[in-house]
């Protein structure tokens, strides 16, 4: 205390100070009391709520994907299975320079250079610790190659995964479809909870239409994770206590197809190098025995994942291997509808079994000059209905078309199932088309176009003009011929089997409305004519049917791709191959108690009896046990 300081009353100053200290202490106690009250509220009153939130924070539920159901053919041979395969994965957070790493992987030919931007994007957008799949199903060679280089690629490694595998690849592609990686569109459509953890889903065919059976039930397990979602390793035991019980995944159901893998392979071989489709079914149940579309593709490519280049090569192929001609291809049925129209004409009285026409090689409507030509320029001479079918005389049908009329044609072809979806359990089926007056009125805008012309009836009688049918529809229709009018809905799946209990849910044959023909005699005659197509003395396909150890029936067809100008000579050699007629053939066998009905279409095959019929014959041989390589 310096001398200059004013006189101070130390006692009163100290009293004042003590008073202020007491006041401050009181305020402090109130403030800290507030904190303590808050702590009691958080830790005692609301403790359970926060304990639950803390638990919710640390425990993450991770989905366990189910194992997809298997597919077997009617003999129990495996069509689709799941194989463990090694795939190359990159964990973004463990890679310092992703671009450089991807570049070096491309240099080793493990990935394609064109896919680098896609992988970079995936590495950037996903969770940092979640692996990005660079390549699925590594070959042994690739695994060995990479194993040597692995030290140079921190954060990149191969991991075993189950991958869908189709041992017969191309032969079954269009019948069973394929699985592919889940797309954003799939994720919108599907139940997210069921597909959590799943990477692939059925995209086409049975894989798609039986997706809900094949997929199975996702399970889940509880993981302790940190704030960034990374799993805590098992040795941090004190943080892993008291987890709820996990739920194991329920495997998908196995699907038994009605198709016969041997038939499927044979059909695929027969169609090699050709474009077209083959459908064979059991006429008495609708079970599809074979369904192929050529050219085909390897469905394993979709399951494994394709590079951008591979996919565009498939998509841009002018032969359209991805297009399922068997159910989506619409072709003019040509003469294959003649047996059905014959029944219609008999039933309606437009013709009878004894009526004969003189075929001069062409037909003209009264008071016109247009010549409707027969496929045989010199004509068939005098023909009755039997001959008209067996020799496929166009002029006979031109002549009765006027009496039959387009509406009756439409009516009877409709009863055989043409022009409407068969309802097969393979998605994407096309409707085909059987024209009628009503259809034309509804489909065209101009009044002149809406009228139905006589000439259109004439060409409709040989399955040309507007008329279109899918190979599946033709197979179903010839099946209805084989059963004399009994129809069953075509289907691919014979049974669905619970993978755990082994319990099977059989697909019951679904009866469709019969084709009612009043007189059995008409069936006898038309079927007999079809028999003579293949095994009669003048049948169009007698070269194919002769010498067979069993009796069969069939009908050839040739569908024009473009109409040919009047008086022009049909010259195969000069036509672009693509402009040649499509070759069609429908058949069933054995003649008594038929077991198989077949439809074959070879695009630009020119001759139904010459090109398509031998394929139908080979399939029937194989199925009935007369095949060259039949082992049973």
């Amino acid at each position: 205390m310096g001398l200059l300081s004013p006189i101070k009353d130390h006692h009163s100053e100290r009293r004042l100070f003590i008073g202020r200290v007491i006041l401050s202490s009181a305020i402090s106690i109130v403030l800290l009391g507030g904190v303590v009250a808050r702590l009691v509220q958080l830790q005692v009153v609301d403790h359970e709520l926060f304990a639950e939130k803390s638990q919710g924070n640390r425990v993450r539920i991770e989905a366990v994907p189910p194992i997809r159901g298997l597919m077997f053919d009617r003999k129990g041979q495996v069509i689709a299975e799941n194989l463990p395969a090694y795939q190359l994965e990159l964990i973004p957070e463990q890679v310092d320079d992703i671009e450089d790493t991807l570049g070096r992987l491309a240099a080793l030919d493990l990935i394609e250079r064109g896919d680098i931007p896609r992988f970079k994007e995936l590495s950037r957008t996903g969770l940092r610790f979640k692996p990005v799949t660079l390549k699925t199903r590594l070959t042994d060679e690739e695994i060995a190659n990479f194993a040597v280089q692995r030290p140079r690629f921190p954060g990149v490694d191969f991991q075993p995964r189950l991958v869908r595998h189709y041992p017969d690849g191309e032969a079954v592609a269009h019948a069973v479809g394929y699985v592919g990686a889940l797309s954003p569109g799939d994720l919108q459509r599907l139940d997210a909870a069921r597909y959590a953890g799943t990477s692939h889903t059925g995209k086409t065919g049975v894989e798609s239409s039986y997706e809900s059976d094949l997929h199975g039930q996702a399970g889940y397990r509880h993981l302790v994770t940190n704030a960034r979602g990374r799993q805590v390793p098992g040795d941090s035991s004190n943080l892993l206590e008291s987890l709820p019980t996990d739920q194991t995944a329920g495997p998908g159901s196995n699907v038994y197809l009605s198709i016969d893998l041997d038939l499927q392979r044979l059909a695929t071989r027969s169609m090699e190098g050709r474009r077209g489709a083959v459908v064979a079914l059991d006429p008495w149940s609708g079970e599809i025995l074979a369904l192929i579309s050529a050219p085909s593709f390897d469905p394993n490519l979709f399951a494994v994942g394709m590079s951008t280049g591979q996919f565009s090569a498939l998509q841009d192929n002018p032969d359209r291997p991805l297009f399922n001609r068997a159910v989506r291809g619409s072709y003019p049925p040509g003469s294959t509808i003649k047996p059905m129209l014959a029944l219609a004409a008999l039933e309606t009285g437009a013709t009878n079994l004894t009526r004969k026409s003189l075929c001069m090689g062409y037909f003209m409507l009264p008071n016109t000059t247009h010549r409707y030509r027969d496929w045989k320029p010199e004509g068939h001479g005098p023909v009755d209905l039997h001959d008209a079918i067996a020799q496929s005389c166009d002029v006979y049908f031109y002549q009765i078309s006027g009496d039959l009329g387009i509406d009756a044609m439409h009516d009877y072809l409709d009863r055989f199932g043409l022009g409407r979806k068969t309802g097969v359990d393979v998605s994407g089926e096309h409707t085909g088309l059987v024209p009628s007056r009503e259809w034309k009125r509804a489909s065209f805008r101009e009044r002149d176009d809406q009228r139905w012309y006589h000439g259109e009836t004439v060409i409709a009688s040989i399955g040309q003009g507007y008329m279109l049918a899918t190979p599946l529809q033709l197979a179903a229709a010839v099946g209805a011929m084989a059963t004399r009018g009994k129809r069953f809905r075509p289907h691919m799946v014979a049974a669905v089997e619970d993978a755990l209990s082994g319990e099977r849910r059989m697909t019951q044959p679904e009866r469709l409305p019969d084709v009612d023909i009043s007189n059995d005699f008409y069936w006898d005659n038309v079927i007999n004519a079809m028999h003579d197509v293949m095994q009669g003395p003048r049948g169009t396909a007698r070269a194919v049917g002769s010498g067979a150890p069993y009796e069969m029936a069939g009908k050839s067809g040739t569908a024009q791709v473009v109409s040919i100008a009047q008086d022009a000579e049909y010259d195969e050699e000069q036509l672009e191959e693509r402009l040649r007629d499509h070759a069609l053939f429908i058949a069933f066998a054995p003649l008594e108690r038929p077991r198989i009905a077949v439809a074959v279409i070879v695009e630009n095959g020119s001759s139904g009896s010459g090109v398509a019929a031998p394929i139908a014959r080979a399939i029937m041989d194989e199925y009935l046990g007369y095949g060259d390589d039949a082992s049973d």
Binding site: P6, L31, L49, K53, N57, R58
Partner: protein
């Protein structure tokens, strides 16, 4: 009734001091205060070890820092209050100069200019944490108590100038704490309640003015406090996770190093500003009340020293240092429990890092100096 050390010193023959007490006295160490500080720091190291993910390296880091801080405390304790008082204006002016320097020359980090590198890197605002209350106490030391209005205005300028300079860095939290330490001095000096009410009324337009000067992130902190759930992944995340950590701790906690909020990284800034939440999660209500009791003991001892002090300067300074320490504890715990906005104040002696730890302990060194340099005369 047992005799106090002072009484023993006065009557050495009747009740001689133990050798230990004599040594403490000679080293200007206050035993109870040192004991309290060591208990807080020790408990703090336990919590910190868990909060830094059981890293020995980081723990040793903190031990070294604490040692330096305790050394600073002992050094300051050797300086007599008179010496400190004489140098107070120069220290204050030097602090102001450094604050101006830091605004022009300072190093930028995390969007703020707080550091100055003059051979050693330090924050000049740390100097002001002690210089401001010292300056206010120095000014009132020779003047009439309770202070007159004119004197209060002069002190107000002494407080406002460094506060504004620090707020410019910007470091609003430190600025407000420094202002608080100055205001505490005048309140303890007996500023009339009428003036306090007047200041309180001025605070309303002042707060509105402050709001205009606040950066967006600071405004966001205030808004987030009012409704943390409005932005659960952004600004509200800290408070939500901190409340979950504390609440899930319950009465006795999840056990040391077993806090899932802290160890699974849900709790942000768990080793610095939010370490109190780790304590709450792992040791429960029992643990937080323990550390609060320890803090109360330290503050209580500080206020006792203030009351026992012999002159105005010592008394005001000791009171301000003790109560400012309480403000630190309150602001941090209230912020972590979601009672007030997040203002970036560490939990003293427990939070990791603590450039402020040296200042803090230097402050306790002043308390020890004040208590141990008293002239041993009866009143």
């Amino acid at each position: 009734m047992p005799l106090t050390d002072t009484q023993r010193l006065l009557t050495p023959k009747a009740a001689p001091l133990s050798d230990f007490a004599r040594l403490m006295r000679r080293m200007h160490i206050d035993g109870p205060l040192l004991g309290g500080l060591l208990l807080v720091s020790g408990f703090g190291l336990f919590i910190l070890y868990s909060a830094v993910g059981e890293s020995n390296r980081l723990l040793m880091n903190q031990v070294v820092r604490l040692s330096v801080a305790f050394a600073a405390m002992l050094i300051v304790a050797q300086m007599s209050p008179d010496f400190l008082r004489r140098w107070t204006p120069w220290g204050y002016l030097a602090g102001l100069l450094l604050l101006v320097l830091v605004l022009t020359w300072g190093e930028v980090g995390h969007g703020a200019r707080r550091w100055l590198d003059l051979g050693i890197r330090f924050q000049p605002s740390e100097v002001m944490k002690l210089a401001v209350p010292m300056m206010a106490a120095w000014f009132l030391h020779d003047r009439h108590i309770p202070p007159r209005l004119g004197h209060l205005l002069i002190i107000a300028v002494m407080i406002v100038v460094p506060t504004v300079l620090i707020a410019q860095q910007p470091d609003l939290g430190t600025a407000l704490l420094i202002a608080a330490s100055g205001i505490i001095v005048v309140v303890l000096a007996g500023m009339s309640f009428r003036v306090m009410v007047g200041m309180g009324l001025l605070a309303v337009p002042g707060a509105l003015l402050l709001w205009n000067f606040m950066k967006d992130y600071q405004k966001q902190r205030v808004l987030t406090l009012l409704d943390p759930d409005s932005d659960p992944l952004g600004a509200g995340y800290n408070i939500i996770q901190s409340k979950i950590a504390i609440g899930s701790g319950g009465l006795f906690g999840k056990g040391w190093t077993n806090g899932s909020q802290a160890h699974l990284e849900f709790l942000p800034e768990r080793d610095t500003d939010f370490i109190f939440a780790v304590l709450g999660e792992e040791f429960g209500l029992f643990g937080v009340l323990t550390i609060l009791a320890l803090y109360m003991f330290v503050i209580g001892r500080g206020l006792y020293i203030a009351v026992q002090a012999h002159d105005t300067y010592s008394r005001l300074l000791a009171g301000s240092i003790s109560l400012t320490f309480l403000v630190y504890v309150f602001v941090n715990t209230a912020m972590v429990t979601g009672l007030i906005p997040v203002v970036g104040v560490p939990l003293p002696l427990v939070s990791f890092g603590g450039t402020s730890m040296v200042t803090l302990m230097a402050g306790f060194g002043i308390l020890m100096s004040i208590h141990s340099h008293r002239k041993l005369l009866p009143h």
